[in-house]
């Protein structure tokens, strides 16, 4: 077995009494697109900062291709690129100057820089913006530039902290296409997101909630771990139904999807049978129901809300 690109062993970080990350163990194989999913404040950014050697772990350890991310951080740092959550390039420098600076800072030989810059501008489609100040770029272009800067030293590993948050769908698509290209070239990608549809694009997904890892598996396996059937009903008025059904015995949770209600329940078939006999809400009109395949959001909801009754352990 080859050495994992990223290896976390009971990694933890507390700030005083607050445990941002707890007992996080993970192993990520080279070439993976690893999607790290969690709500805001779940510990995604703290984990990524520990892996980048920006924050000192308070317990456990983590290694990137065998080197400790804290003790050997100066060695590790030449082996990855990092795209921060917040735009953190120099706004007063042009696109090219930014890439050139990070190239110099990452010790790319001066002679190799022009070719590297040309290639990255090509890759990120920023050639026409070459001499524009970074601060004048749109949100999507800024992220592309941040990606270009993170790639300037040809790292085998890339960390992206919510790279698509706040981007329009076109730029999100462009960003993901780029990540596929990079993955295709053998680069390991560690990306955090809270967009569940993006998790489907990863080759492997980890769920984190309140600093703990809930599950880690390929998206298909995660969805397969949702063993109960998933019931979607049409009911009117929908908002009132949502509130009422949430409280209904036997229902773990309800979510609204395109005007229909998705019900998380251990035994939804029993509910349908009962409701066919007698609909318990005279003030709500039940228009019909159907059975649907769970998507990533359903899986994440089930894991993060602890709906254990609908889950079985994922096979990774």
């Amino acid at each position: 077995m080859t050495e994992p690109a990223i290896f976390l062993d009971r990694l933890g970080k507390s700030y005083g009494d607050i445990r941002a990350v707890e007992d996080l163990s993970l192993s990520i194989a080279p070439g993976t697109i690893f999607g790290f999913l969690g709500a805001n404040g779940a510990g995604k950014t703290t984990t990524i900062r520990m892996l980048c050697g920006l924050v000192r772990p308070t317990s456990g350890r983590a290694a990137i291709t065998g080197a400790d991310v804290w003790r050997q951080r100066h060695i590790v740092r030449s082996n990855f690129g990092y795209v921060a959550q917040r735009f953190s390039l120099y706004r007063d420098l042009t696109v090219e100057e930014n890439i050139r600076f990070f190239g110099g800072a990452c010790r790319v030989p001066r002679s190799a820089l022009p070719e590297r810059i040309a290639r990255l501008l090509e890759l990120t489609d920023l050639k026409t913006k070459r001499h524009a100040p970074a601060g004048s770029l749109s949100g999507g272009m800024r992220q592309l530039l941040a990606l270009a800067c993170a790639l300037v030293h040809d790292p085998p590993l890339l960390f992206l902290d919510e790279p698509t948050s706040g981007l329009d769908p076109v730029h999100r698509q462009q960003m993901w296409n780029l990540l596929y290209d990079l993955s295709h070239r053998g680069i390991t990608i560690f990306v955090t997101t809270h967009y569940m549809d993006e998790a489907e694009r990863c080759t492997e997904v980890g769920f984190i909630e309140r600093g703990r890892l809930l599950a880690k598996a390929p998206p298909r396996a995660l969805k397969a771990s949702f063993h109960a059937k998933l019931l979607e009903i049409e009911v009117e008025p929908v908002m009132e139904a949502l509130v009422r059904l949430r409280e209904f015995p036997g229902i773990l949770g309800v979510s609204l999807r395109s005007g229909s209600l998705r019900l998380y329940a251990a035994d939804p078939e029993k509910l349908v049978t009962e409701w066919n006999q007698q609909w318990p809400f005279p003030e709500l009109r039940w228009l019909g129901h159907r059975w649907v395949e769970p998507d990533m959001e359903d899986v994440f909801t089930a894991y993060s809300q602890g709906y254990d009754a609908v889950l079985r352990p994922a096979q990774s």
């Binding site: 900062r49 980048c52 050697g53 920006l54 924050v55 000192r56 100066h74 740092r77 030449s78 990855f80 990092y82 921060a84 917040r86 735009f87 953190s88 390039l89 120099y90 706004r91 007063d92 420098l93 100057e97 050139r100 600076f101 990070f102 190239g103 110099g104 800072a105 990452c106 010790r107 001066r110 100040p133 800067c149």
Partner: protein
Amino acid sequence: MKRGSFSAIASVAYKEFLHIYRDRRVLILLLILPPVFTLVFGHAFEAGEMTNVPAMLINRDGTPRAQPFVDLLLKNKTFGWRVEPPTVTGEEDLLGHGVQAALIIPAGWSESLANNDPVPLRLYLDGSDTNTADLLQGSLQKTLGDFQQEALVKLIDTLPEDVIDLSKKLPVQVRKQFVSMMEPWKAEGKILYNPKTRFIDYVLPGVIGLILQLITVTLMACTLAREREAGTLYQLMVTSLRRREIVLGKIIPYLVISIVLIIGIILLTGWHFQVQFYDPGALALICFLFLLCSLGMGLLISAVSRTQTQAIQFSVFFLLPVFVLSGAFAPLSQLPQAIRYISELFPLTHFCRAFRLVNLYRATPQFYVEDLIMLSLGVVITFVGAGVLLKRIEQ
């Protein structure tokens, strides 16, 4: 230092230059302020003595015998005299009359002088700023002395012959003593170290220090704080740049700019104020250590501030006491002993002292080696301090 480190430092330095170059307001500040400050301060302190202090003169004597004294007074450039009619009253209300001094020649003054019962002149002085009153009184006393001397000479010249004959009967010794008494005794002074007593020669290191410290401390303090504020510090830290490379790369541009500014100020003062410079090597060393010290101070401030606003506030808090207590514009000896110990903590104090020792006293290194040591200590303390603080932030 490893290979590659130089080019990494150069990358940071070049980036920092671009920041300064792109920030037009700071650039203009850097290019315009130092020469303008130098000219303004240079001329502001040029005279070093008071002239044209608004004053009023009320001559209630009015006799022709008082006129020579009035003429002499009007020649005294310390005062900007306004001659008021003798009827003016309320001479103690200096503020109301818009003057800082009022001199009254009382009625019958010249007669009283002739009658061996001199009535004193009345002088009212504004003592609010503690310096002016003494200086004005001294200046007036001198004019009065000159007048008295003139009168004395005239008296001797017009003595009747028989008085001269009579005096010849006095013993020679008494006569000699008497003549000696008639002449004011003098101390023959020779002014050393600043023979023309030009204040600009004294104040120049203060001006250089003020400008440089203002620029280096504030700008340097802002650089790291700005990176932290913009989030770029994290991005810098995940590159393989080491802390010392970041710090060195950030210092170099400001060091270069400051050196250019010093040379500019020196050329300007040399050309415009005819200030002469001795021992350029020693002066360069003093300036260099002082610059490093200021940059280190800026770095230290940078390491403790989270935002640029904080950095500027800290800088102002640091710089204010420095300007007042460092002896840049007034001799330290005016300060009480206890305060002087505080002054010794400021780099500017040592810079000004060492600069003056070289340029005014033309002293040999043994006289200012102490200041060089203090400046070097300052460099070490600020840089090590900043390093430790930055390391703490990193975690």
